[in-house]
Subunit: 406 residues, 2 copies
Amino acid sequence: MSKNPPYIECEGGVTAARGFRAAGLLCGIRKQKKDLALITSDRPAVASAVFTQNAIKAAPLAVTMEQLDRSTRISAVLVNSGNANACTGEQGLADAWAMVRAVASSLHLPESQVLVSSTGVIGQYLPMEKVLAGIDQIAPLLATNGHQDAAEAIMTTDTFRKEAAVQIPIGDTTVTIGAMAKGSGMIAPNMATMLGFITTDAVIAQDLLAEAFVRANNRSFNRITVDGDMSTNDMALILANGGAANVPIERGSQDFALFSEALEHLMITLAKMIARDGEGATKLIEVSVTGAHSSAEALQAARAVAGSNLVKTAIHGADANWGRIMAALGYSGVPLKGEEVEIAFNGVPILGKQYTILLNEAMAKEELAKETIVVSVNLNGGSFSEKFWTCDLTKDYVHINASYRS
Amino acid sequence: MSKNPPYIECEGGVTAARGFRAAGLLCGIRKQKKDLALITSDRPAVASAVFTQNAIKAAPLAVTMEQLDRSTRISAVLVNSGNANACTGEQGLADAWAMVRAVASSLHLPESQVLVSSTGVIGQYLPMEKVLAGIDQIAPLLATNGHQDAAEAIMTTDTFRKEAAVQIPIGDTTVTIGAMAKGSGMIAPNMATMLGFITTDAVIAQDLLAEAFVRANNRSFNRITVDGDMSTNDMALILANGGAANVPIERGSQDFALFSEALEHLMITLAKMIARDGEGATKLIEVSVTGAHSSAEALQAARAVAGSNLVKTAIHGADANWGRIMAALGYSGVPLKGEEVEIAFNGVPILGKQYTILLNEAMAKEELAKETIVVSVNLNGGSFSEKFWTCDLTKDYVHINASYRS
């Protein structure tokens, strides 16, 4: 008997939860599409964030990290697209701080409650006159249904908005978690950036929020790859403002398990959207590894298959090229026995044990022509399983990335 | 004053050195091009080999490893293209051993002196009737100028033969080292394979030969990447038959240094050919990192830049996209200060310290339009430097790999 998930998906994105407002507009960093987004909470929210592991960190990341080191009570987050403010030295830092001050001033907030984030071209200074004018204009636009404008304003080469929200019962109230994200593939000239912003009205302590968030992040945004290039601006942030007035979520409680599960589902939903919308991509690929000796080995094997250019081009061409999957498993570093491995595409067996070829070319072609491909690999070694998501590698990826600045 | 290198490049490939013969023919594994090569020495040569780190190893690799474990005195090496004999289980092993026996019988050699190697499609059994008939036919074709036929027979999707040879004075005689190789990019359906075969007439003990070979391999074949996919069949082999009758090369001697330097030059020459001829490639990219705190860090940084799909597509599009190089350096894991990094293309400065943009778009475009691009990165941290080679990433790479089996 299959159990219904304990959460309900709902509308509203990053403004679905009580007390959050958002807006998005075109301030002129870009030519045509919205490029400035603002998210606010009607009271200081507790915050937790994760950042790129890239040693070259953009100025807004440095500023946001410094702000959160001082205080995790946050009321506003400003995000711009079109310019990453990365590799911009002292000037870049000064610009990021100026954005913090301008938002604080415009919203009558302490500077300590404002964070900033950027995505776009590396190595160019922000057009600060336009940005500061944009900050003046955006405050009056803040709205409890502003999620779409904000989600649109953080897009770079994304082809669709990435939003999701879920609701869960906590005690006798309903807690909402909403989110928006952008992808995907280091993008514009030299760019970048997976960004994720999650808002919730849950009452939850900062340390518990961080615990659930880091775990969910490891199982979602850390499990997608488009081209293997890690950006200088990647960042994901969660804000919890307590607007639901639920009984506080306690460590080790059923409520915490529920909140964590809903958050993970929400973030995986966004992660899959990012993978599907990878530059030039036409398909979402889910690599599911079972039968591993440990979770770490399952993840390592799944990551190797998802990261293989050859697997990704084969799936793009709807070519049931299981040898490339075997080769990727082989170089993943995971101890395995080739003759024990079983492979299936969307549940259709391709390879059995002892290298038994079960592939029916016509059936495989039909599955691989679909827009979502689940590559299942059973290592038949242990009882652990993990997933990783990616997209196919296409000529459009090369086209987008070879000619961007031309 | 620049010093001339102590070696002279010469013709003759894998049969340049005394006592080696080779041949290549079409036995029918493939449809049109030669698919079977044989290299022999007129006396047992000492041998050393390196193999793929892939946990899934093809049958011929298992057989060759077992042979070399028993004895490093080798007289013949049979290589086929068109079929990797990988993921073929017990049948594949039996086939590889049958090839060893057939060559030994045909050439009247002990079985222990014969090695085998394969490259091509994964997961298909070899057409053994054709292979055994080919072995019967190839022995009479062996010739001291057979290097071109052999080099052609080991090609898969390579677009040109890869051969080189060098000569060095040892005592009062001349020692020759010749070689052939194939690349590059895991190729046909699921395949693979970098193969390298080096022959020399030097008198040198097996342990010294192995020492020089492993070192040269680490500085050549281990420093190229096409798509990051490591094959199940990669193998490089060196044979030294003593035909030059030089005074034996001793450990720690000037002769050993000379031999090692010439061998390294030869293998780097082949490695660069493989990178240049990567699937779909139009350019050779050399990533040269200087100013690192250690050789390991220099190599790690160079490998990250060379492995970046975004750097490779940008160079394909002649786009002087230095931000992508910075991002790759940043995620390489090497500790570095972004504001200390300097970047140049073919010696033309692009980025100076403190993120100073020196880029002249027209000049950069002119350099990046060339067929060989040297990406120089100075980390300005220490005094160590290393190189890594790759090719550009093109739509043809996707085309070749998405539609191979169609």
